[in-house]
């Protein structure tokens, strides 16, 4: 097995950033150094994770340090600071034998799914002993139905979807859990080229907008943005559900005037010269959640070890994707026909954050899309306030109860701590959306502060 990212982390010459099957020239694997059985592989994965964590996932500083002091000395130093054997034992204990090795995971071909997709070609699933088939899905309704039917063991979902499914909104009521976010930010409002002079949303009356799904951050953010500018999203404009891959074709056909959609379709609209980027959703709410990794409660409780391994793989992949220096390799790995099926140059602009806006400017925003696994429960509460605001749900809501049932902070926190990532102490951080602060302790007060609402 040649999983190059499992090369010896104490060796200054080894390359840890490229996965199995990587065709690049530097990846001629030093076969002798690779572990040959699953036990040794797991040991190596743990060592590797700790070493990479110590160096802040910076390959350059790891390799120069190892070169300077020598791998053996470094291992001794690290061993005196961290009880390696105890950590290995603890991790193996918590992993245990996998109940199910072959998994089917659904994804919708957008850059939000990056960790779920790239974990396959870059070897993150294999690293935790999983054989995952990632299946491209035509849209969110199909992803929901295939997940409910058990055809997918787990799926890429929009962060409001597991909440909606658990509450039985727009689906049968099945407890779903969301142990990790995939990405934050990474969406944009795109308008057709003919609306170049209508940058003020007050001029948007009567226009038709696409969002990927009803229970999506896209829908809630677009509604919020329109309402803040005095437009009633139900009466003054038309908001249609359009699967992300069909957004650009619809914009070109004049079927839509604009959309708030996931990348790479925003950048693809610019690339095709049919639209321009009006704003990034990051500028409405910096660090807003978007897509997530979700599965049914049943899957998690019936296969606790598989669930844990999967969560490890995804959080590891998410962490890897968030590093700016890895983004180029990730973009190349996910642009292929098997995954996003998009020009590399488009995906590159999304992931690097240096992009053309379609109006003649080159803009730079390294946080245009970012990857952060922690499922903040305050964000679930915000999503619930917006569901209630626009009438998707009526009556009293147990905001915290639902948030804590679905957004599994404990599971994510445990894995993040094992990997040496900082774990926030309070899952209810407050934040502001378009400058208006949100206090997660008082969702009803927040809700009634909006003049425009349906409940």
């Amino acid at each position: 097995m040649s999983v190059n990212s499992l090369d010896d982390p104490f060796n200054p010459g080894s390359e840890l950033t490229h996965g199995g099957g990587c065709a690049c020239q530097r990846c001629a694997p030093s076969a002798s150094a690779l572990p040959d059985n699953s036990e040794a592989m797991l040991d190596r994965a743990i060592e590797s994770a700790i070493v990479r964590g110590v160096f802040g996932h910076n390959e350059l500083s790891r390799r120069s340090f190892m070169g300077m002091v020598g791998g053996g000395v470094a291992a001794a130093i690290l061993g005196s600071l961290i009880p390696m054997d105890a950590v290995k034992a603890a991790v193996k204990d918590s992993l245990g034998p996998l109940e199910k090795k072959q998994l089917k995971i659904g994804f919708v071909p957008i850059t939000c799914a990056t960790p779920i997709i790239m974990a396959d070609p870059m070897g993150f699933y294999a690293k935790y002993g999983l054989e995952v088939e990632t299946v491209k899905t035509a849209g969110w309704a199909v992803a929901r139905d295939k997940s409910l039917a058990g055809e997918y063991d787990a799926s890429h979902m929009l962060s409001p979807m597991p909440l909606a499914i658990s509450m039985g909104l727009g689906s049968s009521k099945v407890p779903f859990i969301m142990p990790a976010l995939e990405n934050v930010n990474g969406q944009a409002i795109v308008l057709a080229m003919e609306h170049q002079d209508k940058r003020d949303p007050k001029l948007w009356k009567g226009m038709r907008f696409g969002v990927p799904f009803e229970y999506s951050m896209h829908n809630f953010l677009l509604r919020y943005y329109l309402a803040e500018h005095g437009l009633d999203p139900d009466r003054d404009v038309q908001i249609r559900v359009v699967p992300p891959p069909e957004m650009v074709a619809n914009l070109r056909a004049g079927n839509l005037d604009g959309f708030l959609s996931p990348d790479p379709f925003n950048q693809r609209a610019v690339w095709e010269k049919v639209g321009f980027i009006h704003l990034l959703t990051k500028d409405l709410w910096a660090g807003h959640p978007c897509c997530a990794f979700a599965c049914s409660q049943r899957f998690a409780s019936e296969n606790p070890n598989t669930y844990s391994a999967l969560l490890h793989a995804l959080i590891d992949a998410t962490q890897y994707s968030s590093q700016a220096e890895n983004r180029k390799a990730v973009a190349e790995a996910i642009s292929t026909k098997n995954y996003l099926n998009q020009p590399v140059a488009v995906v590159q602009q999304v992931l690097s954050g240096r992009y053309a806006d379609g109006l003649g400017n080159v803009l730079e925003d390294p946080k245009r899309i970012d990857f952060d696994p922690f499922p903040w429960q305050s964000m679930a509460v915000w999503i619930l306030t917006q569901m209630k605001r626009w009438g998707y749900v009526q009556g009293d809501l147990d905001y915290r109860g639902i948030a804590e049932q679905v957004y599994r902070v404990a599971d994510a926190g445990k894995v993040m701590a094992e990997m040496g990532m900082p774990v926030p102490a309070d899952p209810y951080k407050s934040f502001s959306v378009m400058g208006k602060p949100f206090n997660p302790a008082d969702p009803e007060g927040y809700l009634s502060s909006f003049p425009l609402r349906r409940s």
């Binding site: 990632t134 049968s172 069909e246 074709a249 400017n361």
Partner: protein, 278 residues
């Protein structure tokens, strides 16, 4: 005389083909690509004009078709398979759904055709169910059956059942009374009459129904697969549409046409076998 006409028709067909391809080639020629200067970052990020999606000229489509057809069975992961594998999945779904439909439709059609009572009793249901677009069943099927593969087969089943059912009933009801009377004078049992007199007599009409059905099933599978995704020629079209790769889309459109024609020709051949002259 007829030979001369078919000769002239063939020449005309070729001429039409050449003219339309020529026009297409001229109208859709790629614009001369202006390579952006290396220091013009905006132009580089926007992509040159020749990278934009547009309707490709036939020469590009042919080159693409050649590439695809020269490796029809490659398998690069669950979402990237060769055109042969995709067609195989679609044909499997169409034939399974279609054969199941035939198994159900032909016996029921027979009963309806034989018995005016059954005809009247079942007619209201048939009239309501028949005009429903098969794709409208898709959400319900996905929810109830809980399996996308079976749902696609179900949709094919439901769309191909009606033409076969109605044509069988029509054919059976239209068998000449004289022939049945002759059977009766020979004291044939009702079952024997059904198989040795009515079935052969109704066969051409039944085959017409089967031919219509297979055409509809092939039309519907493309749309169903675009909706559900995963595998199949419909998924292939959808996947290339995502990437606005129109050369692939046109190639698959042509291929869908060719396969549909072959299916029709096959049933046409069977129909000739069972046809008779009165």
């Amino acid at each position: 005389m007829t030979a001369a006409i078919s000769m002239r028709a063939a020449i005309l067909s070729v001429l039409l083909l050449v003219i339309s391809l020529g026009l297409w080639e001229v109208l859709c020629r790629e614009p001369a690509g202006v390579v952006p200067a290396a220091d013009d970052e905006y132009a580089l990020l926007m992509g040159a004009a020749d990278q934009e999606a547009r309707v490709p000229p036939p020469s590009v489509v042919f080159v693409h078709a050649f590439n695809e057809l020269s490796q029809p069975f490659y398998d690069k992961g669950p979402n990237d398979k060769g055109i042969g594998i995709q067609l195989g999945h679609s044909l499997y779904r169409v034939l399974t759904g279609y054969l199941l439909a035939a198994l159900v439709a032909i016996p029921i059609g027979f009963v309806i055709g034989m018995s005016p009572l059954m005809y009247r009793a079942l007619n209201p249901f048939i009239q309501i169910l028949r005009p429903i677009s098969p794709l409208a069943w898709m959400p319900l099927a996905l929810f109830v059956i809980q399996d996308s593969e079976t749902s696609a087969i179900f949709v094919i089943f439901i769309c191909s059942v009606w033409p076969m059912l109605l044509n069988t009933a029509f054919g059976v009801a239209g068998v000449r009374r004289d022939w049945i009377n002759v059977a009766r004078t020979h004291e044939l049992s009702p079952l024997r009459t059904a198989f040795s007199v009515i079935l052969p007599a109704a066969m051409p009409t039944i085959l017409t129904g089967m031919r219509i059905s297979v055409g509809i099933a092939w039309l519907v599978i493309v749309a169903a697969e675009m909706l559900v995704g995963g595998t199949g020629i419909g998924y292939y079209v959808w996947n290339e549409w995502n990437n606005l790769d129109l050369a692939s889309v046109i190639f698959s459109i042509l291929l869908i046409g060719v396969v549909g024609m072959l299916l029709d020709l096959m049933l046409g051949g069977v129909a000739r076998l069972v046809s008779y002259q009165e």
